[in-house]
């Protein structure tokens, strides 16, 4: 006679090393099999959208750093593009190139963390993670060179960037591109055919394309399932239309593909940077923008392909010095929409890997 069993509820997080912050899941388990989960948010809610309503347009830029704190530069960019769209500002060429280089460096840094921590969640404790972090450190050094900061850069400004890049920056980027492509190859050689990674990640947590579209999931997670959607190509902003790059896609949409897609995207980012550093024009780095910005009444939405997906900003202006309403399209929150369907029927250890492969930042989920 079989044992009589019953499902039980396990509280997972908010303080758990694999939740990448303070994320909580109420999991219903049957033994080790996940029957259902209920995500619980809000442990990092700081009310950034409300704070925006009492700050000047420039004064809000430091707060965007705190949204997705791994990709501060991308957040800066999404916000500045929206205000520029609202006011019709033309950004100087040099600033556009600097922005593209910086945004792609930021993507490299993010994918280092994404891949490293995903392998951590797969059980490869800290060796791949530390290798990835070692390389990310070099990118942070470059960001420190331009902005003086290592995490919350506050570098972009409405109409350009806050200060010109130092003369040693571009040679340093060039050197990094060379080192980094070696690193990506080396990293991938060790892991691509790794038996443990294959066994843990192949076929696990498959995300079908129709669910991706229905949920509005974007970024590497969507492209790993074969949805060829990249705003750098589909809706070019800044000067992305001048560079040659491919949009890698995979077809299975499992955890292994979500690992592979990030490695492939790092290579494409390196291609863009290599092209961009050759063409950086001279000139001013910020447009002629008044110190106290008062955009005309109206509303604007601009979006960028941030490392985690479509990051957008929706601003309603009433012609005063502060936004009337500011909404950030939270990539991380939306990418979690399908988590429930992805983890049902998998074991607890797979749940951690599937969650890690989505790559979220709680600062952006809770805002």
């Amino acid at each position: 006679m079989p044992f009589k069993t019953e499902p039980f509820v396990l509280n997972f997080g908010p303080l758990h090393p694999s939740t990448h912050g303070v994320f909580r899941m109420r999991t219903t388990l049957d033994g080790e099999v996940v029957l259902d989960i209920e995500p619980v948010f809000g442990y990092l809610h700081r009310g950034i959208e409300k704070l925006a309503e009492e700050r000047t347009y420039t004064g809000f830029i430091p707060l965007t750093d705190r949204l997705d704190y791994i990709n501060s530069m991308s957040n800066n960019l999404a916000y500045c593009l929206t205000v520029e769209k609202l006011m019709g500002i033309k950004v100087p060429e040099r600033a556009e190139y600097i922005r593209v280089i910086i945004a792609e460096l930021q993507r490299l840094a993010n994918h280092c963390i994404a891949v490293g921590s995903m392998l951590n969640d797969a059980g490869a404790y800290y060796t791949p993670f530390m290798h990835a972090f070692r390389e990310r450190e070099k990118i942070l050094d470059l960001f420190e060179m331009v902005s003086g900061q290592r995490l919350t850069y506050n570098y972009m400004r409405i109409g350009g960037v806050s200060q010109d890049i130092p003369p040693e920056f571009l040679p340093a980027v060039k050197k990094l591109v060379g080192i980094f492509s070696h690193f990506v190859d080396e990293y991938d050689v060790f892991l691509k055919q790794n038996e443990i990674l294959l066994a843990r990640a192949k076929g696990v947590g498959i995300l079908p394309v129709d669910l991706i579209i229905n949920c509005g999931i974007s970024g590497p997670v969507a492209r790993a399932s074969g949805l060829k959607r990249d705003l750098r190509r589909d809706d070019p902003y800044s000067v992305y239309d001048r560079f040659e790059f491919d949009i890698p896609t995979c077809e299975n949409g499992d955890c292994y593909d979500r690992y592979r897609i990030r490695i492939a995207e790092m290579r494409e980012s390196l291609r863009i940077i290599a092209q961009a550093i050759k063409e950086v024009p001279s000139g001013p780095v910020i447009a002629d923008v008044p110190h106290l910005i008062r955009p005309p009444a109206g509303e604007a939405y601009a979006h960028i392909e941030a490392p985690k997906g479509e990051l957008g900003c929706y601003i309603v202006s009433d012609n005063s010095i502060a936004p009337y309403r500011l909404h950030v399209r939270p990539t991380s929150l939306i990418n979690l929409s399908a988590l429930r369907q992805m983890v049902r029927g998998w074991k607890v250890a797979d749940l951690i890997l599937i969650f890690g492969s989505i790559d979220i930042t709680m600062g952006e989920v809770d805002r």
């Binding site: 948010f41 809000g42 809610h45 009310g47 959208e49 409300k50 669910l211 579209i213 229905n214 949920c215 509005g216 999931i217 949805l227 959607r229 705003l231 589909d234 809706d235 070019p236 939405y301 479509e310 957008g312 929706y314 309603v316 009337y324 309403r325 909404h327 399209r329 929150l333 939306i334 979690l336 929409s337 399908a338 809770d366 805002r367």
Partner: protein, 147 residues
Amino acid sequence: MIVALAAKDVIAKLTEKFPGALEEAGRDAILVKADSLLEVMTYLKNTPEFDFDFFNFVTAVDYYHYFEVVYHISSVRHNHSIFVKTRCYDRENPSVPSVVSLWQGADFQEREIFDLFGIRFEGHPNLKRIFLWEGFQGYPLRKDFNR
């Protein structure tokens, strides 16, 4: 290139199909009456000509006299997008129909609007506060919220 569909073309189609469902014609967005929101959205999603299958985001704005709920939807196949808006004038008991039955991606975001604006989404499967704790008084993103 994601093209923002000209609202007036869509509005012309919608007025023909659902007379009386739209409020005054906006310039860059479609302004739908709250009680016909669900049928207009179903039409926009399921008509092959529009095929708005990708749910970008939904948010709300407090304009004192009314709340405006803003939907941004786009189509992967046609690569176009549009803003759809609806208003609720009742400040005591604001409510609009939920679109979770059409797009699963609206689930968390409608909960967020309920949490921060107090707008009820009729038909939402699990409408409760998402960021703030149960028992929190007031709705912080309303303009008259007093700290």
